[in-house]
């Protein structure tokens, strides 16, 4: 039995099911991070004093991470564009590049975390550090999830190319939407936590 509109768009909606699905998922993610940003606001306005992020956190490293993540978004788009041009090997290369850049982000993040732990700056130290670790930790978890998905499409998942190239292209596009969302969350996290 075949479920319709998985690969082809439904004529009256103009969309595939997967496309709607991923956007709905992202809407729920907006609510998830929205609630955490609201938490940040509520804790901050309720606090007698709130540290400037830069006085505790490492701004240069975070800037580097921002660049790494934006670059990874570019390679992600390139992967999808390559599939649209029907060039699988190039697409796989770009997907692996995206995974590698995600990995680089995680390594830099780990260095940052370690530096904090070395100075005994744990989440239990203050509400600022608590929300910092929670937000960035949850974001890092999303990066990790995106890396797994991208690695799957670069590796074993790419075999679908030989049976249903259009479907694989759609799925990589959806993975890309998720990846850009994760990128976007960081674009909000960086100024809020490090600069404000």
């Amino acid at each position: 039995m075949e479920i319709p509109y998985t690969v082809e768009a439904r004529p009256d909606t103009g969309l595939t099911s997967g496309k709607i699905g991923i956007w709905l998922f992202l809407a729920s993610e907006v609510m998830l991070f929205g609630a955490l940003f609201a938490t940040y606001i509520m804790l901050r306005v309720g606090a007698p004093e709130w540290p400037v992020g830069a006085s505790i956190l490492n701004v240069p490293l975070a800037t580097l991470n921002t660049i790494v993540l934006i670059t990874s978004s570019v390679t992600m788009v390139m992967a999808w564009a390559s599939l649209m041009r029907r060039d699988l090997s190039k697409a796989r290369m770009f997907l692996w590049a995206t995974v590698a850049l995600g990995g680089a982000f995680m390594v830099i993040k780990a260095i940052e975390y370690n530096a904090k732990f070395e100075h005994h700056l744990y989440p239990s130290e203050s509400t600022f550090l608590a929300i910092y670790f929670t937000l960035t930790g949850l974001h890092a978890f999303h990066v990790l999830a995106g890396m797994v998905v991208n690695a799957y499409f670069a590796g074993p998942g790419s075999r679908q190319w030989h049976t249903n190239p259009q479907w694989l292209t759609n799925r990589v596009e959806h993975a890309g939407l998720f990846w850009h969302f994760v990128d976007l969350v960081w674009i909000f996290l960086f100024p809020v936590l490090y600069l404000l």
Binding site: Y5, T13, I20, M31, A35, G46, T127, A130, L138
Partner: protein, 585 residues
């Protein structure tokens, strides 16, 4: 399931024989998953009901040994067989959690939604069958974690189903299990809601426009949006509370919090109110998650058994959508007593009064639908009819709670418990029973017994009211909802204390009244009256598939020509015109 009973061979289905495990356990077929959800939901409803019966014993006979099972609970939970206060708190917290998140939602959304929605829109399955399976198994994992938590040191969660901080932050290990369990339950609902929305948008049969959707589908569609957007903030809150409990953060712990005479050694600076905001931001839309599918079921049953179109289909749909929107801006009416200030209180009491309007429109439209119909009083219809006044009582008794001034008096009394139980117990659960009786022939190809059905309905109706009406009387006398001894420590409860026994015995009566249902359910699977594809002479598409529907549902793609409730069309041959019957035929 007799798969081949009425199954016609269909076009492109290649039926490879699946093993038992893949067919009934790890199935991706929406009908099997729907049945799995239904059975799981019914079992959890029964379990939650058992917890409540233990509580009711303690309320009626505080400190007396629990008959039959008192000795089995162990010395910590029930010393000498009498329920200890800590265990009573666990029962209360877990009764709420289980009934809401593992009973009603899986049954109303997971069960009926999964089984009926794809059939009603003429789809072969859900849009994402494997995701569907995943959401069911997330529920199983979450439910298991919740059940296992009873055996942890210190027992299960005991800070109420609302898990208010800071109490929940410093509660024993069971609370951590509750949070982990909730993360799985939330994930289950999230994945399910995405599936429902996409399926409704993408897999409608040709000609089935949105304004031709059965009201049940609309109800599921709006419900899915509530789940999708309201649940993530609770997931965030659960993560924050897990951080508080495991990483020692202070999201919900204020500075200088004193516990048992000791200042807590935490960084402080957190806000207990933050938890309440995040929790109710989910939990108020959740109330509508509990009631909207029920309204959808009632609408189907009412239209079918009055043999006439629903009154005001469009106003029903618009009210439903408006209700969905409004449910996101009323949450703080649960928090009038937190010192939020009159401006905020005015805002939230205004939105609360506004949201009652679409609810009343829906209820009125359903009642007006009865007008002039030649009503068939079968079991599903009886339950659906009982839903109307019961939900009416539940809704109207909510108005004083939504106004900040009377809420000051009524807050946290048993009146609140009586109010929302009228909405979800004789309201939603009656609608769910109506749905079970109504769609049972579609699932099994057999009808449930009518006599046993009526034996189930009438005592249930009487006992439900005997449980919840006295509760509101106690509440208006000022009895708090959180007393493990039913209020006997206080003198002022004297005039209403006797009602505790009435309510408890009514609860046991309600349990007995479920026996005909349980017998009926199992007997009808085996030996109920065999029926054809459309035993109720219904118009909607699910009745155009064979009973039970085969894998892939319909033998050929359907084309819809009509609205959902074309009953008693003047000039038509029969008193119902199925949606796929061409106009003029």
């Amino acid at each position: 399931m007799a798969e081949t009973l009425h199954a016609r061979p269909h076009a492109d289905a290649h039926h490879e024989e699946l093993s038992f495990w893949w067919k009934y356990v790890f199935s991706t077929d929406h009908k099997v998953i729907g049945v799995q959800y239904t059975v799981t939901g019914l079992v959890f409803l029964f379990f939650g009901f058992c917890l409540m019966m233990m509580m009711r014993w303690q309320l009626a006979y505080p400190g007396q040994a629990l008959p039959l099972i008192g000795g089995l609970l162990g010395e910590i939970r029930a010393p000498g067989g009498a329920i200890a206060p800590d265990f009573y708190n666990q029962l209360g917290a877990m009764h709420g959690t289980i009934m809401v998140f593992m009973g009603v939602v899986p049954l109303a959304v997971g069960g009926f939604g999964n089984f009926v929605l794809p059939l009603q829109i003429g789809a072969p399955d859900m849009a994402f069958p494997r995701l569907n399976m995943l959401s069911y198994w997330s529920l199983v994992v979450g439910g298991t974690v919740m059940l296992v938590s009873f055996f942890l040191p210190g027992g299960a969660a005991q800070s109420g189903w609302t898990s208010y901080a800071p109490l929940s932050d410093i509660a024993p290990m069971g609370q951590t299990a509750w949070l982990v369990g909730m993360v799985f339950l939330i994930t289950s609902s999230l994945l399910g809601s995405i599936n429902f929305i996409v399926t409704t948008i993408q897999l409608r049969a040709k000609g089935l426009t949105f304004m031709r959707l059965p009201f049940f589908c609309w109800a599921q569609f709006v419900t899915a949006f509530l789940l999708l957007l309201a649940f993530p903030p609770l997931e965030a809150a659960a993560v924050l509370q897990l951080m508080d409990r495991l990483a020692g953060t202070s999201f919900f712990l204020p500075t200088g919090l004193v516990v048992s005479g000791q200042v807590l050694e935490v960084s402080g600076g957190g806000s207990p109110l933050l938890w309440q905001h995040l929790f109710w931001f989910l939990a108020h839309p959740e109330v509508y998650v509990l009631i909207l599918p029920a309204m959808g079921i009632v609408a189907e049953v009412v239209a079918n058994n009055t043999r006439k179109p629903l009154w005001g289909y469009r106003s029903l749909v618009y009210s439903l959508i408006f209700l969905g929107f409004m449910s996101f801006v009323v949450w703080a009416h649960h928090m009038f007593l937190t010192g939020m200030g009159t401006t905020m209180a005015s805002f939230f009491q205004t939105t609360t009064m506004i949201i009652s309007i679409p609810s009343i429109v829906i209820l009125t439209a359903l009642i007006l639908s009865l007008w002039g119909g030649s009503i068939r009083f079968n079991t599903p219809m009886l339950f659906a009819l009982a839903f109307l006044p019961m939900f009416g009582i539940g809704g109207l008794t909510g108005l004083p709670l939504g106004l900040s001034t009377p809420d000051v008096y009524l807050h946290d009394t048993l009146y609140v418990i009586g109010h929302f139980h009228y909405v979800v117990a004789p309201g939603t659960i009656f609608a769910l029973f109506a749905g079970v009786y109504y769609w049972f022939p579609k699932v099994t190809g057999r009808r449930m017994n009518e006599t046993l059905g009526k034996l189930h309905f009438w005592p249930s109706l009487v006992f439900m009211n005997l449980i919840f009406m006295p509760m509101m009387i106690q509440g208006m006398a000022g009895v708090s909802r959180r007393l493990a001894d039913g209020g006997q420590t206080y003198d002022f409860t004297e005039p209403v204390l006797g009602l505790n026994k009435v309510m408890s015995h009514a609860a046991y009566g309600l349990a007995l009244a479920q026996i005909p249902f349980i017998i009926n359910f199992f007997r009808s699977i085996k030996s109920g009256e065999r029926v054809g594809a459309n035993p109720w002479d219904a118009t909607t598409l699910e009745w155009q598939a064979p009973s039970p529907p085969p894998h892939g549902n319909f033998s050929e793609p359907l084309v819809v020509h009509r609205g959902p409730y074309e009953y008693s069309v003047p000039g038509a041959q029969r008193d119902f015109c199925p949606q796929n019957q061409p106009v003029g035929a």
